[in-house]
């Protein structure tokens, strides 16, 4: 059908949505294959959420502990994810991340060094050996800048400040391209491409206290679902144990796990190192049971077992939550993270420079002399678009997904440092997958003009409405709802209320009114983000209702323990009859991929 609205049009072989680590890495790979590649990003190049990653990138290079290997990394990852992971993704990730880190070095990254000049690796929660390659506490910045500079040197086209509204598919359901708009002008643009790589990151902006930026609205999750792909494990949300709690304006801002890796400990208002009381059976054999033993471990991992502060993030976040609820929290409702009494000011400033400045400048706290007040903050979604492990292909032909937007790799809980390596390993694989698909001869079908028109009409409706809902009010109410009903501890009745609440918010979203024009109008931009936020919030809530157990980043007060049978299934969301954010979502259980015996054996002889 002919198109009524005029749009700019661009033609490519591979369209990458998102310019964080995964998107950049995918684009590099597609470009190296000689394909016409474009990166479309909501922000400027180099500003994506990857810059916020602090602690490091996990890779079993064995530079500090030669006994480390991909097998140990694989096992740590699976156990951290409470065995819900797609084992094949975890396997590929553990095997390939060392090469991906070395590659970054060859592209100019300057990682901190060991005394003999190799890449230094630091300890992190859930990792048996010191495994995180890092640059002080700004590893994400180093990674994004390195990838950005590589992308620029390859001459890849980058369309900045451009928001994708909808993926367009052809009559057979295969990818044909997308409809988007330029934020600076508000002008609409259509991109034709037979292959699209989604690398849009997370969903945290739907919660009130989050370490995520405005961009993390779950666009890729929603675009995929609306286009016919499936989402899995959406209930698995990681609340990072250490976010700032004061001042309120920065509540949720991340405090790196590196503080604990480098010797920081958690204390309650009584000054007690409470984590010793929260060691789950699964981790008891390898966790220290006294402060003396734990403290020996930092210098020599064979002298004692691991400190309980370095348990996986879900364990630590729940423990903090319990301490605060029991009345042993700090004045501002967190607990204390103390490195001041344990390491010299010089050590702290050298190893954790960003944290030092962050607390000094935003809270007026000197972390070399004073404990930090911290509490859990919505940080990461383990769930996401269901992909084939080797190619990152979704069930929609031509659609690929990598990084946080993809599900499966991390199971029900992600270990720190595994996201940066995830971006590199699966970003590259998605680029390869997309390139193979395009080289297979697939061409993008011409667009149905009616689809483009409908997308534009829906996006611009709030600008035409004289009276209606303020998008900021709807966003605030959504954040309140998800924080209180689908937060760190969940129960069946609150989740049911959340669904009703989401219905009401969807109605309000179809009645938004926005003032001003289309050119760089944040109110309108938010209005176009709300549909994605609602879609992912609904999937998270549906997954949480169905998963009647507690596992990793999903804790049910009414089902407080894991259920072995539920540990063998993913809850899979799809939207068979379409309808966008107002459409019905179908949720069904499906068995997880079964691990072959040689990998299963790795868990049997584990100590």
């Amino acid at each position: 059908m002919a198109q009524i609205h005029e749009t700019e049009h661009q033609d490519y072989d591979v369209l990458v949505v998102g310019a964080g680590g995964a998107g950049l890495r995918a684009a590099i790979e597609a470009t190296r294959r000689g394909l016409r590649t474009v990166i479309v990003t909501k922000s400027l190049l180099g500003k994506a959420h990857t810059v916020m990653a602090e602690g490091g990138v996990a890779a079993a290079m064995g530079n500090v502990y030669p006994e480390d290997s991909w097998q140990v990394h694989f096992r740590d990852t699976m156990r951290g994810g409470k065995m819900l992971n797609n084992y094949r993704m975890a396997e590929l990730h553990a095997q390939e991340s060392p090469d991906r880190v070395h590659e970054l070095e060859a592209w100019g990254a300057l990682f901190d060094r060991t005394p003999d000049g190799r890449i230094l690796q630091r300890d992190f929660g859930g990792h048996r050996f010191a495994r995180l390659a890092h640059v002080g506490d700004r590893t994400g910045l180093e990674m994004i800048r390195t990838l950005q500079q590589k992308v620029v040197s390859l001459g890849v086209d980058v369309v900045m400040e451009c928001k994708v509204l909808r993926l367009v598919t052809d009559a057979d359901g295969a990818i044909a391209g997308c409809v988007a708009y330029h934020r600076p002008t508000g002008g609409f643009v259509t991109f034709s491409a037979p292959a699209v790589v989604l690398a849009t990151g997370g969903v945290g902006k739907s919660w009130k206290y989050t370490s995520n930026s405005w961009e993390s609205t779950g666009d890729g999750h929603a675009l995929a679902l609306w286009a016919g792909a499936q989402l899995i494990d959406m209930e698995a949300i990681q609340f990072h144990p250490t976010g700032m709690v004061w001042p309120l304006s920065v509540r949720g801002l991340l405090v790196t796990e590196g503080v604990r890796g480098d010797g920081g400990v958690l204390r309650n208002s009584e000054g007690k190192r409470f984590m010793f009381n929260y060691v789950a059976d699964m981790f008891r054999a390898e966790t220290a049971d006294s402060e003396e033993e734990a403290d020996k471990w930092y210098d020599d991992h064979s002298a004692g077992r691991r400190p309980p502060e370095l348990l996986p993030r879900d364990e630590v976040a729940r423990a903090i939550n319990t301490e605060v609820k029991a009345g042993r929290g700090t004045p501002h409702g967190g607990v204390f993270l103390d490195i001041a009494s344990r390491r010299s000011p010089e050590f702290i400033k050298r190893r954790l420079p960003s944290m030092y400045h962050q607390f000094m400048e935003l809270a007026g706290v000197d972390i070399t002399t004073t404990s930090m007040e911290i509490g859990p903050t919505c940080h990461y979604i383990m769930g996401g678009v269901r992909v084939e492990a080797d190619t990152e292909a979704t069930s929609v032909p031509g659609l690929f997904a990598a990084g946080e937007v993809a599900g499966g790799m991390h199971g029900s809980n992600r270990l720190g440092g595994n996201s940066l390596s995830d971006l590199l390993v699966f970003g590259r694989r998605a680029g390869v997958g997309a390139a193979d698909y395009v080289e297979g001869g697939k061409k993008a079908a011409p667009f149905d003009g009616a689809v483009v028109d409908a997308t534009i009409d829906e996006a611009t409706a709030p600008l035409a409405r004289e009276v209606g809902e303020n998008p900021y009010d709807v966003q605030r109410d959504l954040q309140e709802l998800m924080q209180s009903n689908v937060g760190i501890i969940r129960t069946g009745s609150e989740l049911a209320d959340a669904l009703t609440g989401l219905d009401r918010l969807s109605e309000r979203t179809s009645n938004l009114a926005v003032r001003g024009g289309r050119a760089y109008n944040p109110g309108w931009n938010l209005a176009t983000d709300l549909p994605s936020m609602l879609t992912v919030s609904r999937c998270t809530t549906l997954g949480a209702i169905n998963r009647k157990e507690s596992r990793g980043g999903h804790t049910r007060e009414d089902f407080p323990t894991p259920d072995a049978e539920l540990g063998k299934i993913n809850f899979v969301h799809s939207q068979p009859s379409g309808g966008g954010y107002r459409g019905e979502i179908k949720t069904v259980p499906e068995p997880i991929l079964e691990m072959p015996p040689e990998l299963r054996a790795l868990f049997e002889d584990a100590t």
């Binding site: 470009t31 190296r32 922000s43 400027l44 190049l45 180099g46 500003k47 994506a48 810059v51 916020m52 070395h102 070095e105 060859a106 592209w107 100019g108 300057l110 901190d112 060094r113 003999d116 000049g117 190799r118 640059v135 700004r138 994400g140 910045l141 180093e142 800048r145 500079q149 620029v152 040197s153 390859l154 001459g155 600076p184 930026s213 405005w214 961009e215 001042p247 309120l248 304006s249 920065v250 801002l253 991340l254 960003s354 400045h357 962050q358 400048e361 935003l362 809270a363 303020n470 900021y472 009010d473 605030r476 926005v514 001003g516 024009g517 050119a519 760089y520 109008n521 944040p522 109110g523």
Partner: protein
């Protein structure tokens, strides 16, 4: 947010509103809230009084360099400027002056992305068996430059870019001088960009007034640690007779601009 610790007092935020065709400052009365930064107040304005107020931001933690503006006349990050460090009654927020206005506080910083495309990227030797080796002490200066968050405040305040449109096509600016310095000082890099940075990127136009260093939110010593040493290296490659003799004896040639201006293999 409604549960903030309001102090009961109000202040005036004077914000520049407009676009490429022109604009003016507008005053907004807002509650004073404990512990807030300028960006918080801008966000509260968007959520309450003026939803179409344009401002660029991402991380709100001083790590991404998106929310650059001129606050009370000084180039700063809105997310790292605490309200209680400013004049208690009136705070002025304007867009960066050097770059063309898009809308309100958002400017067109594409000049910087164009300069970035001209930088010949890192060019290491083939990776040896067992990997590259570098000592921490040899990479620390490079790491200082790589702290750069590309807020472009140094570019905003640099008088060559700010006041000399005619020079901009052949001037990289402080953000990219630290990039060139980083590559020059990288223990593994094999390219030689000294003539290139002199002839094509205008290093000589910088007269080391240190304004860039003063505004850097990452406290990078741009002038002392990057620009001055880079100038010295360029002098060594161009005018220094002792260095010239050394090159003749060791038969090492300074790469010309054209020789240096190549991107490494993909």
């Amino acid at each position: 947010m409604t549960d903030q610790a309001t102090t009961g007092e109000q202040i005036t935020l004077r914000v520049w509103r407009g676009d490429a065709s022109g604009g003016a400052f507008e005053d907004y009365r807002v509650d004073k809230v404990e512990g807030e930064v300028v960006l918080d107040v801008v966000h509260r304005l968007q959520a309450s009084q003026t939803p179409d107020l344009a401002c660029r931001w991402n991380c709100k933690a001083g790590k991404c360099g998106s929310c650059s503006a001129e606050i009370d006349g000084r180039p700063r990050l809105m997310c790292m400027t605490r309200m209680d460090d400013l004049d208690a009654n009136l705070v002025t927020v304007a867009p960066m002056r050097t770059f063309p206005i898009i809308r309100d506080l958002v400017t067109d910083v594409s000049f910087n992305y164009e300069v970035a495309k001209r930088v010949p990227a890192f060019s290491p030797p083939e990776r040896p068996e067992g990997g590259y080796r570098m000592q921490q002490v040899d990479i620390e200066r490079g790491q200082e430059f790589r702290k750069c968050i590309e807020c472009f405040l140094c570019q905003d305040v640099c008088h060559v870019i700010r006041d000399h449109d005619d020079l901009k096509p052949r001037y990289a600016g402080p953000r990219f001088f630290i990039r060139y310095a980083e590559l020059e000082m990288h223990p593994l890099d094999t390219n030689d960009r000294r003539q290139l940075v002199r002839e094509r990127e205008g290093l000589g136009l910088c007269n080391i007034t240190k304004c860039c260093t003063e505004v850097c939110p990452e406290h990078i010593k741009i002038t002392d640690n990057a620009i001055i040493p880079l100038k010295e290296r360029v002098v060594g490659a161009t005018y220094d007779p002792v260095a010239w003799l050394g090159r003749v004896v060791r038969r090492r040639k300074v790469r010309t601009t054209d020789e240096a201006a190549v991107q490494p293999a993909p």
